[in-house]
Symmetry: C2
Subunit: 142 residues, 2 copies
């Protein structure tokens, strides 16, 4: 034998990584992961997706109130990029005063689920990370 279960897992992981890196080559200059993560790696996208996940639809100023600290411009920019990626649907009602409603698309909902999984990881390990940061800070000042 000589091949443990851990070794096998390792091999699978490396295979997967290689696949992703291959995709990168086939695409222009960026692997999908990086592209996607780049999208919601910004300051507000995650909050926005989470907030939209809590209700069916939300209006612009409702979102602005829910996402504390966001500026008008950033909310507009964030919503536009999410809309552009097909994660958020924007519906304009030609009324006076104007009304615009935002909601997650099916794609947006499926991303939301993945984000929640990642959130679980984060919640599970946040203490380890914080601890590591303290250790690191301690070593630095030693």
């Amino acid at each position: 034998m000589g091949v443990t279960k851990t070794d096998n897992q390792q091999l699978k992981v490396r295979e997967k990584i290689d696949k992703i890196l291959l995709d990168k080559a086939s695409n222009e200059n960026c692997c999908p992961v990086k592209d996607i993560l780049g999208r919601f790696g910004d300051k507000w996208s995650i909050y926005t997706i989470l907030m939209l996940g809590r209700k069916e639809t939300l209006r612009f100023n409702e979102l602005k109130t829910l996402i504390s600290g966001i500026s008008q411009r950033m909310l507009t920019v964030t919503l536009r990029s999410l809309e552009e990626d097909g994660l958020v649907k924007r519906t304009i009602y030609p009324e006076i005063p104007p009304r615009v409603e935002y909601e997650l698309t099916a794609l947006g909902h499926s991303l939301l689920l993945k984000l929640l999984e990642l959130a679980d990881w984060a919640k599970l390990n946040i203490h380890q990370i914080i601890e590591a940061r303290e250790v690191y800070a301690g070593k630095k000042s030693h």
Copy 2:
């Protein structure tokens, strides 16, 4: 009845979101997800983690070669922040010429797995997203 399976799923999702947002309140000013995502949402962290996932250990210049386009400074900064969070272990061998080896910690490996899951989502949906972008671009110029 009147409560479909979809409704139940929706409720669970919203519950989960609420939990995350509560954590945000208990922490300083940031939910764990955002904190964590902020870390590897930058330009190079993901590549670095992926590359480190392919080998046991890697030296500074090996990494620099593997991650095409990264500058010396950015590699240093990226590795330091990953080390600070306890995702990467840095071992210095006091030789001449100096040798420094980097490897993923257990925590780093567990994050790698989650990143690969996200990568799967990205690979599965990248075409939908690209299509959405084209539709959006088409609408804009219409």
